[in-house]
């Protein structure tokens, strides 16, 4: 009896690991299939320009305040820290150059991506999830409107094209945040600060920033739509879908950021 249990414990453990791995693979497969279907139907008519415009407004315009404020505060705090750190080896003058590089390459896109994920992935998951559990998606299908084309396509396109604009704004405001604190408190000359900023900013930095933004936008919409579309089990199920959408969007944004950074700047 005891021996039996001793022997069966590792087996049960292996089975648990196995089923965990299988479930994980199945989830990845489901996501890949979902993405394939969504992309495959993007190009095909009918198109819904009104839906696209509406989503661009919701994602882009209404995210401006939160993204702008995040960039402003972070840019200012960053400049202050670089100043303090730099002063240990008489490198205070690096503040404008390091700030602009850090903002444009990393913090602008990542912070904008995360803020938009918090706002938009959750909203998409909640809306599509509610539509799923109240049978609105079934109704849409019965009325011969493809939910991939009507609901998901406009969201994916809107997020992917809108986030680069948001990130541009975040980059500019982040640099201005650093400029503000540097000229107000750290004794920098304004014209000088901006001149150094311009000199150290390269096109590659801006390009990588925008590529990241587009990828993050796609991730945000994909996670929101995927979790919402597959939600089940009433209000609790929609709540779970919303949480999963935000958490998975956060993780995928940070992971894809690392991958792009290594590819672009690693060599």
């Amino acid at each position: 009896m005891t021996l039996d249990r001793l022997l069966s414990a590792p087996v049960a453990f292996l089975i648990a690991i196995g089923s965990f791995v299988v479930a994980g693979l199945a989830a990845v497969g489901r996501l890949a299939k979902f993405m394939g279907t969504a992309l495959g139907r993007l190009a095909r008519p009918p198109y819904y320009p009104a839906r696209l415009f509406e989503q661009m407004l919701v994602i882009g315009y209404f995210s401006l305040p939160v993204v702008g404020l995040t960039a402003l505060f972070t840019g200012a705090a960053l400049a202050q820290q670089i100043f303090v750190g730099g002063s240990r080896f008489n490198a205070e003058s690096t503040v404008p150059a390091v700030t602009v590089i850090a903002i444009v390459r990393e913090l602008g896109p990542v912070l904008a991506g995360l803020m938009v994920a918090g706002r938009v992935s959750s909203a998409m998951a909640a809306e599509l999830g509610t539509m799923r559990v109240t049978e609105q998606i079934d109704a849409l299908t019965t009325l011969r409107t493809d939910p991939f084309q009507y609901l998901i396509g406009p969201r994916l396109i809107a997020a992917t094209v809108t986030l680069p604009f948001l990130v541009l704004v975040a980059n500019v405001i982040g640099v201005l945040g650093g400029y503000a604190i540097a000229t107000a408190r750290l004794g920098f000359n304004g014209a000088n600060y901006l001149a150094i900023t311009r000199r150290y900013l390269e096109w590659d930095d801006v390009a990588s920033s925008l590529v990241k933004a587009a990828v993050f936008g796609f991730v945000v919409a994909l996670m929101g739509c995927y979790h919402g579309f597959h939600s089940s089990g009433g209000a609790a199920g929609v709540g779970k879908a919303t949480t999963n959408a935000v958490v998975s969007a956060f993780i995928l944004i940070l992971l894809s950021n690392l991958i792009i950074t290594v590819i672009v700047f690693g060599s």
Partner: protein, 255 residues
């Protein structure tokens, strides 16, 4: 004559739970059939299988003689074009105003012009709703009003076959009778084939040509409307008379 809808030994499971276990049902063109049966016996699931919103695990479903059990893509879309469906919960699109909901089968989400708004108002009038609701959002309506808007949406494209999932639930008796009359009119005057789920026996008596009872995954009785109180079937007897005790296990200490 080929049946409009024909289900043969249709089964549907969810995990380990068998909901439909060999359903046989025939609906002739222009006929109005009512399905009755206890809560959770799979009436709504039956309709969703016919519409291809769910896949039957076994059996065949034919519409106009064509096997539609495993249709995909364009063929499935063409199949669905024959149907109007009133969902049990209404399933109105809450991001759109009422009138855009009503004509959705015609616009399919594309931008609609003013003439369709007029059509929507006509359709709303047929289900007893005034033009003042046209610009409201579904969330601003009562449950019964939502049901009627959903009904207007289901009939908007003049489908050949209409499924009504509990059309009169949540309506007062007068409004319910307006809906009964509408269904009778659709079937009699426009030749629509109707399949209705209801728990409302007054409504069933008024709209049905034939009644089928679903119990334990099968159609246990199927006969003309005039026989439902005289069916000789213990399940039907218990159901239509609304008795807690009988062969149907209600889970409250059967005798």
């Amino acid at each position: 004559m080929t049946a409009k809808i024909e289900l043969a030994r249709v089964s549907k499971r969810f995990g380990r739970k068998t909901v439909l276990d060999g359903v046989d049902l025939k609906v002739e063109p222009g006929e109005s059939v009512v399905i009755i049966g206890g809560s959770g016996t799979g009436k709504s699931v039956t309709l969703k299988c016919i519409l291809g919103l769910m896949q039957a695990d076994a059996g065949t479903i034919r519409v106009d003689g064509q096997d539609v059990t495993h249709l995909k893509g364009r063929a499935l879309a063409a199949h669905r074009a024959k149907f109007g469906m009133l969902f049990q919960g209404g399933a109105l699109f809450d991001s759109l105003p009422v009138w855009r909901n009503v004509v959705f089968a015609l616009t399919q989400g594309r931008w609609a012009t003013g003439s369709l708004r007029g059509l929507a108002i006509d359709l709303l009038a047929r289900v007893g709703l005034g033009p003042e609701v046209a610009d409201l959002r579904p969330a601003e309506l009562s449950g019964g009003m939502q049901k009627r808007v959903a009904l207007a949406r289901a009939i908007a494209a003049k489908p050949e076959i209409i499924f009504f999932d509990e059309p009169t639930t949540g309506l007062d008796p007068i409004r319910a009778d307006v809906i009964n009359d509408l269904i009778v009119e659709l079937v009699r005057d426009l030749g629509v084939t109707a399949l209705t789920i209801t728990h409302d026996m007054a409504s069933a008596r008024k709209i049905a040509d034939r009644v089928a009872m679903l119990h334990a995954g099968r159609i246990v009785w199927d006969g003309p409307r005039d026989l439902i109180y005289d069916s000789g079937n213990a399940y039907v007897d218990q159901f239509v008379n609304g008795r807690a005790h009988g062969p149907i296990d209600t889970g409250v200490g059967n005798g």
